[in-house]
Each structure stands twice: as C-alpha cells, then as structure tokens.
C-alpha cells in the first residue's frame, strides 16, 4: 500500500488565489448591496438572517436557587453557554418529556438536526442562544446547541473532530463534493452575472484539485466537528449536521441517535481529537463573521439553495415514506458501542 504524503490544503494559498482569480473576489461582494437593500425594503434589520421567518422567541428559566454544575463536560465553555436561562428552559422542557438520559439525548438530537436549519449566518456562531433564536446555523453552530442542551440536561458532552481525506476516485460519491457540485450547478443556472462567475471560479478550483489528486496527491482537512455524550459508561458519538430532509436530498441515510455517524464511515474513520471546548478559536468566528457580512448576497443565495434542498428532501421522504427510505439504506446503520442496551428503534 503506498504511503502517501498528505497536505492540509489541496493547493498552496498563492495557487488557490490564482485559480479563483479576481472574478471570485468581485463575485463574492457584488451581490451584497442588493442583499442589504432587500432587507431595508422589507423593514428588516441589516443583520437579520436569510431565513428570518425561522426566528423564534425563547423562554427564559429562573435560575434563582438553582444549582448549576461546574464539573468538566457539564460546565459552559466558550461559544457553548450551557447555563444560559434560555438553554436551561429548553433543556427542562425536553427533560419533562424524556423517560431517561437516552431518550433525552435522542430527543435533543432530533430537535437540533431538524429544527435548526443548516445555513450560514454571521452571528449565530458566537452564542448558542443566538443560534436557537435564529433557528439556523452551520455544523459547528448546531453542535454548540446540542452540546449546551445536553450539558444543561445533566449529560456530560464533549467535542470531537474527524479528519477527512479527499481524493478523486471517491470524490464524486462523497456527499460534500456532491453537495458542492449541486450548489455550483445551481449557481451556474442563475441569471446574476456574479453568481455565474463565482460558479466558474469554483469549478476551476475543483478541477484543479481533481487534477492534483489524479497526479497522486491527497489532501487532508482535519476538521469536521462531532459530539460525544456520556450516557451510562459510554461516550455516544453524534453528528447533528444534517436534518432528515437534508440527508434525504443528498441520498444519505437518515441520521439516527445511537447509530454510527456516517461521517466516520465516509471519511477518515477515526476521531482525531476530543475536547471539552469547541475545537475552533476566536479567529475562525471573526473571519467567518466578516466574510458572511461582506458576501451577504452570496450567503443569502446559498442559504436559499439549502432551503430548496430541504424541500426536495421532504418531498422524497413524503413520496417514499421514511421507513422505506431507511429500509433501503439499512446496511449503514451500525449501532455505536454501548447503544445495544438501549431501546433502539430504527423504523417508526
């Protein structure tokens, strides 16, 4: 078996910028004024999210006299405020409905996956409460909510990262690139000149990466966040990135708590790191926030595309039936260690 040298990035930064070209930079920001103008016309805040209709009002718990845990894996960590009154109120609500820790974790898992839409928003990453309020967020935002709610409900929770080696021979089958290709295709069909430019720049980048991989280089991205919840003796891994509809739209198995997260199977296979706090520093949030604000138009477009994807996924599930969908992909449902003793029910 050949031992391969793996790079952290598919291309050096200079080459990356060269391939993307100036059109990419222009394309990023050219739609931004329109996006903000749209918000002003609709009498919305300039910082309001794309999917503003998902915003919700949160109730706050009274914390007077309440003992909050400061034990490791139960206490708040940066970007994961498990002691926020809104988080505790929601956790209490789930606790009342859950029969035990497993049931509580499962309910949280489904809530975070399905009720918080996958979308990029500049502000939601800073605070769990903001993500809950806006009702949307990226993988790390959703994870922060999941970990915070678990901790607030008395279940120790921690963050993990999974490595990801991408290469050509599988790239077409990988959900991420499938998704990327879909988004690009969608952009290519847009009327806006800038979106078409962006799509071409990104397509150029993908083909350059594929060329590199063809020449024998594979690259490694050491990051996809996941959580582990300690229930009984076991740390149960869980990936809350995709909702049922999003998974169905991509042809992936519907995620279920207690079953091996697909990310472990499709990507590297091992958890690379585990930590109490979110595995990303402040710089990430700041860069993400600035980029999202500068490229508001593009971000709105991507978020709308995801919304379309969800609609498509819901239609697939409605036509086929959830049980039948799961039945077709049931070989992918490997229980995680420790899950066998709990009441796992894959089919409704």
């Amino acid at each position: 078996m050949p031992s391969e040298k793996r790079d952290r990035l598919p291309l050096p930064m200079s080459e990356l910028l060269q391939v993307l070209g100036p059109a990419f930079g222009i394309g990023l920001v050219v739609l931004t004024p329109k996006a903000y103008w749209q918000r002003l016309r609709e009498a919305r805040s300039l910082l309001s999210p794309t999917l503003y209709e998902r915003q919700r009002t949160l109730t706050r718990a009274h914390l007077d006299g309440r003992i909050l845990s400061h034990e490791p894996y139960l206490r708040p960590t940066p970007h994961c405020d498990a002691h926020a009154p809104e988080v505790i109120a929601l956790a209490d609500e789930f606790r009342q409905r859950a029969t035990d820790d497993w049931d509580y974790a499962r309910k949280l898992y489904d809530f975070v996956r399905n009720e918080i839409a996958y979308a990029l928003e500049p502000a939601s990453g800073f605070q769990v409460v903001t993500t809950l309020r806006t009702g949307c967020g990226g993988c790390l935002d959703k994870l922060n909510v999941f970990v915070a709610l678990a901790r607030a409900g008395g279940i120790p929770a921690r963050y993990c990262t999974v490595g990801n080696v991408t290469a050509l021979e599988q790239s077409k089958e990988r959900p991420r690139l499938e998704l990327a290709n879909r988004l690009l295709k969608d952009m290519e069909g847009e009327r806006a000149w800038s979106l078409r430019k962006l799509s071409r720049s990104l397509s150029r980048l993908i083909s350059r990466v594929e060329h590199k991989v063809e020449a024998g280089q594979s690259f490694e991205m050491r990051f996809h966040p996941m959580a582990e919840l300690k229930i009984g003796e076991f740390w149960i891994p869980a990936d809350v990135t995709w909702s049922d509809a999003e998974a169905a739209a991509q042809g992936l198995p519907l995620p279920r708590f207690g079953y091996d997260p697909l990310i472990l199977r499709r990507y590297r296979g091992s958890v690379l790191s585990r930590s109490e706090g979110a595995p990303i520093g402040k710089a990430y949030w700041v860069v993400r926030c600035v980029l999202c604000l500068l490229a508001r138009g593009l971000v709105d477009h991507l978020n709308q595309t995801f919304e379309g994807l969800r609609a498509q996924g819901r239609q697939i599930l409605a036509e086929m039936g959830q049980d039948e969908y799961i039945r077709r992909l049931r070989r992918f449902y490997v229980p995680v260690p420790g899950a066998a003793q709990h009441g796992l029910s894959l089919l409704a």
């Binding site: 078996m1 021979e169 582990e228 049931r330 229980p335 260690p337 066998a340």
Partner: protein, 469 residues
Amino acid sequence: MTPANTDAPLQVGQSEACGPVAFADPRLQSLVLTHGSPPMQSDGNPVELALYTPHPFALQEQQAEALCYEAVHASFAYHLQHNAFYRRYAEAAGVCAEDLRGPQDLVKIPLIPVHVFKGCPGPHEFLPWLTSLSATDIAWPTAAIATDSYQEQIALLYRDCGIQVESIEGDNGAMLFLPFDRVSQRRNVHANILTFFAMYPEFRNLAELTSVTLWPPTFRWPSWIVPQERVRSLLDRPLDLAMLAELSAPQKPRRFVHRFFGRRQARQGIALLAGILARLKEVAATGMPGVLWIPSSLLGVLSHFALEQDGGLRLGSAWRVIQSGGWQPNLEQPLSAAELRMLAAQGLGILPEQVYDLYSPIGSLGPCALSCEAGYLHIPPPLVHPMVVSEAMEPLDEGMWGRFAFLSPLPQAFPGFIVTEDRARLWRRCPSCDRLGPVLDPAISLMHDGEDRSCGNIVRQIIAERLTT
C-alpha cells in the same frame, strides 16, 4: 512451486473419528499443538471442519463454497446469539440467521466497518467499550481495571482472563483493538500455520528451517512456522542497542536513507542497515534454509543498501523472503510490486519468485492471504469468504476495483464480518498458478479514507524512536 494438491498429504486422521484432529505430518502437528489443541473431531463444528480441512487450495469451488458457507452461517448464528452489538446491527439491517439459505445469501451478512474497532474513546473507557463489541460468553473481568494505560490493561486481561487484545496504532494516533478469546486465538494461529504450509508445501520438508525476522515481537508469524528456538530476531532491543553502539557512519549520506529515516537520523540509519546486513550474512553463512520476514518498507531500503554496499547479499535458493505491512518503500520513486520484488532479488541474492507477500486486511490480526510466485494473493477458500464492495456496500463483480470486505468465521470474540479500508480487486481463481480459490490482485492500496495503520508503519516508528533515544 509444486501445487498444493499434488504434495505430501496434509490431512485430518480419519481413523480417529472421536479423537482430536490429527495430522499426517508429525512436524506440522507438533507446530500446531504448540499453539493449542485442536478440538475433538466428533465436535462437528462447521468452523472447525473448515479450519482443519486438508488441502484448502486444492478444493473445488463448490466444495470450498459449501464448507465456507456452513462455517460462516454457524459463526453468524453464534454472533447473533452472543454479541448484543452485532445482534442490534443485524436487526437494523433486517437480516437474521434464517435469511441465509445458501452461499448466494452470504452477501446479506451485515459488514462491520473496520473503524468501529478504532472507536475506543480513551483508556478509561477501554474495558466497557471492548466488552460492548464482544461476545458476552467471554469471561471478562467483573470489576474495572484501575489503570490509565492500554498496555497494562491488555496485559492484565491476558493474565487474568486469557483474553489477548491485539492492537495497532494508525498514523493519526487512533488505536485499533481486537479481542481474541482462547478459541479465537487458537483458530487464528492454526489457520495461519495451516494456510502457510498448504500454500508453500516445500517448507514442510525443510527440517533446519530458520525464521529470521525484522519485525517487532508483536508480529508472531515467524514463531508460528518453526519452533521458537529457530526464530532469530534482528530487531530486538539488545541488537538495536548494539547496532547503535557501532555508529560510525562515515558513508556519504544517501537520499533514500534520508527519506526513510529522516535527515537527522540518516547516519544512525545507515549503521542500522549495515548491522542488519552483517547479521543476515552471518545467518546465511550457516547454509541453513531460512525465511526472512520483513516489512515491505524495509525490504526496499535494505535491498537498495545491500546493492550499494557490496553488490548485494547472497542468500541463495534455500531462502524465501516474506514481505508484508503494505507500506511501500520511500525510495526515490514509488515501486510497483514487481519492481520491488526485482530489487529485493538483486539486493538479497535470491530469485524474484522467492519473494512472497503476506496480506492482512486488518494489520496482522485476522485472516491473511499469501502470494503465489506471480504475486497474486491467495485467500484460503474454506476459511474466508472475500468480497469487493462498492461505497454503497453492494458486492462488485469479479475484476472490479472496490473496497475489500471479508467474512471470516474464525473469530469468536468479535464478528469477523468486516469491511476494510483497502482498495482491491478479486478474481475467482489465480490467472497464474494451479492453486484453487479466490485471489486478490497484488496492487492493493489504501482507500483514500483509510489511514496508514499497517505494521510497516509501526516498524518505522520503532526504528525512529530508538534512533532518537
């Protein structure tokens, strides 16, 4: 090489239908008995029948298929009954023992991705994690083992419960663990011994055979094929220290040594290679036949070095080299399997046909395939049902590249139905030799989501660690 089916019989004694399994070859029998007694023949367990079947590489396809099916079926039923984790998985997949009605149904058996065995969250959770994946009828310790070290826990499990936990560390630091209870240990070792001698029957006639190893002691193959006193390790600690003491390395630094050991350790590396060569020459000078067990990575470097030093070694026709570990040499350019074979032949003074490959899909921990003279990897047909599957986990046709998976009925402590991280293609029979049974193309590589967890990687780490101390 004489095909297995025309060689001296390796057979189960038919006269002792109620006694333990016996072998016609007393030398083989003594080797096998060193690693546990075979069960009584009257046991009738299909797994044991498949394991002790004579001439595995001479069985007709249907015969082998029937034996393998019965064994895998029995093993599947066993794991459904005794392994809660696997039972849940099979339930989720909607497969039960009654669904297997013939060899054509083996593809229904749910395959465990190998990463499941790498999922231990840490030493504190080691025992509960391991037990949750294993059969319940194993005598696991009732109390938690109070230590933070994997190795200490593994040693205690072996001492107190007879459970051997094999482990391999991958290049990202995640450990893969597989538990072997006494039955699984015995079956694993016996299967490997019997497969080896069935594959290379000429070794049975070499009474003075020496097993020379460049592997750490955790690689046990060298001591399975000869009595322990005929095993010579060239990489044990005293020998390493002696080599390091010899450091002088006046030679001009070589680029391939730099690549293998790293620039800082190149000088020590040269001395290490020189030491290994000197020892090998000593062993070869005795004139006794031998088998050299060597990681693929080291084979390339050592052969290259031997050629540069004094035109190469002269091991001769009585020697065989068995390379494994899959980790290709870091030479100037990557070598194909045939090129590496040629380089080894030139460097060590043997014929290319005397260089064999040992392929182990999950380190050296499970079933293995051995190469024929043309390099095709032969899978013992009654013991392993091999498959190549797509990313959708659908079996692929013969000759198509995909992910290698196998059904092995041998392990009892964990289900041996595993989908690996190796990219392979399968043929129903060898295009090159007369041995029967499925073969894998020699060009096995890692799937791109796989990690370098081969044993060769471990050897490289050991050498690097020792050179820096």
